[in-house]
């Protein structure tokens, strides 16, 4: 599977889970590796690529870190949108 296609699937999964559960990086990797039959390392690499460009972001709350879709405020702050 092309990286871009895998990243779209990761994003779709994140949208589906939004507001339901705080997802750790490992949760996303496990779910997408099962869904796509890609190796966990491949999913991890694709996920990291999304975080590096601000398509996903790390967040922190209640003592634990998670991954989520960034808010417009975050994207604006990072200069990724106007």
């Amino acid at each position: 599977m092309e990286t871009a296609e895998l990243q779209d699937k990761i994003f779709a999964y994140m949208e589906k889970m939004k507001g339901k559960k705080k997802l750790k990086e490992k949760d996303v990797i496990k779910a997408l590796a099962e869904e796509t039959s890609e190796a966990p390392d491949t999913v991890k690499k694709a996920l990291r690529g999304m975080i590096d460009v601000g398509r996903l972001m790390y967040s922190y709350g209640g003592g634990a870190s998670s991954v989520e879709i960034p808010s417009e405020e975050y994207l604006r702050e990072k200069g990724l949108i106007k």
Binding site: K24, K26, I51, G62, S65
Partner: protein
């Protein structure tokens, strides 16, 4: 800029012979409105006995999941200078050795973008910069990283490894704590900057059992320098200590936790088989005693401060491991340990808590370390050896 607020209660903390954080904030407040508002809010907290900080939130630099801790005032209209007051963690140098030039560089950048207040160092070990705004974060990171600095760890990540001064200043260090810490920091960059663990994981390295970095009480994994073989004794130097008035019986022999030492007024003897390498005698008689010649490290696991459950002290799991560069055995062991913890822990569970709930036996099996007598922590804590069905086949 300074003196916007009357601070009679904080002023009390400037009295006495000891250094005062209030004095230091007042100094910073001469140049920084953030520091000035910080004083005002703190005085208000002391009066009302309430905290006005909101902690957490989503702040950081692009691509990193740690290194910045969000902090906001819950009274932004009253104290606008600290509406945002985020903490930035900078990965400290091993053993906290800096040149004056490096410190000036750090402070100049911080004066430009932050409150000017620092904490040298935070309990994790990072160089902590206190108080900046969200819009300055990327610029701060760009300036520091362009000069070779990096952010430290925070959140559910490996925290910045730290160590004692080791061989840099201490000739009794049994291992090169500085090199181990630098090597592990480089090895685990991904785990440090990308929080993927159930909770925090701290590694601290001490050159000997004196443990100047307090690893045994604070680190999820403690690497403590030790030795194999006999303690080296210089009897002539022992005599000099006695001649200068040291009460060797009271100060050394009676203080030995395993009673493995004897002194007849002329000769000091050590039954090394019984020695637990606590370093008390060596630290007291530095000229007369030296550790054995074969150096290595003891690995302990599981200490933490009380958050989810009570505080824990570390537990010996590997009595002796070679600790020579490139530390392949040590790195492999760490990967096995964090792998088991990551697979087993619930969110916000430290490794010590998981071992308490799951038992030491499955942990040792998972990391491939056999049960050993040295792992017995206290009476009734057995060496984790149990028969299983397969043993009877």
């Amino acid at each position: 800029m300074s003196g916007k607020y009357k601070t009679p209660m904080l002023d009390e903390l400037e009295k006495g012979p000891w250094p005062s954080f209030v004095t230091e904030i007042k100094k910073a407040a001469k140049k920084s409105s953030m520091a000035d508002d910080e004083l005002g809010q703190l005085e208000k907290s002391y009066k009302t006995k309430r905290g006005y900080w909101k902690h957490g939130g989503i702040v950081g630099v692009l691509g990193y999941g740690g290194g910045v801790i969000g902090r906001y005032s819950s009274l932004p209209e009253e104290f606008p200078g600290i509406a945002h007051f985020h903490t930035v963690r900078i990965n400290q140098t091993s053993g906290f050795f800096y040149t004056a030039k490096a410190l000036k560089e750090i402070c100049d950048i911080w004066d430009k973008y932050g409150s000017g207040l620092t904490n040298m160092h935070g309990s994790t070990g990072d160089l902590v910069l206190l108080g900046t705004t969200t819009e300055n974060l990327e610029a701060i990171f760009a300036e520091y990283s362009s000069r070779g600095w990096d952010l430290g760890g925070s959140g559910s990540a490996m925290r910045t490894p730290s160590c004692c001064v080791g061989p840099g200043r201490c000739e009794w260090s049994n291992i090169d704590t500085l090199d181990i810490t630098y090597t592990l920091t480089q090895e685990f960059q991904d785990e440090l900057h990308r929080p993927a663990f159930p909770y925090k994981f701290k590694i601290k390295t001490a050159g000997c059992a004196v443990d100047c970095v307090a690893a045994i009480a604070r680190a999820d994994m403690s690497i403590i320098g030790t030795w194999k073989g006999n303690i080296q004794i210089d009897q002539a130097e022992v005599k000099k200590y006695a001649d200068k008035g040291m009460n060797i019986q009271a100060e050394i022999i009676d203080m030995c936790p395993t009673n493995c030492m004897a002194y007849d007024g002329k000769t000091l003897k050590i039954n090394d088989v019984e020695c637990n390498r606590c370093m008390h005698c060596i630290a007291k008689m530095t000229k007369a005693l030296r550790s054995g010649k074969e150096k290595g490290a003891t690995i302990l696991i599981g200490s933490k401060a009380p958050i989810v459950v009570g505080s824990l002290l570390s537990w010996v799991i590997v009595p002796f491991i070679k600790a020579d560069a490139p530390y392949t055995e040590l790195k492999e062991l760490i990967r096995k340990i964090i792998g088991w913890w990551d697979d087993t822990a619930k969110p916000r569970e430290r490794i010590g808590e998981v071992i308490e709930s799951e038992g030491m036996r499955p942990f040792l099996e998972a990391i491939g370390v056999p049960p050993m007598p040295q792992q017995v922590k206290e009476p009734r804590k057995d060496p984790f050896f149990f028969w299983s069905e397969s043993d009877f086949k």
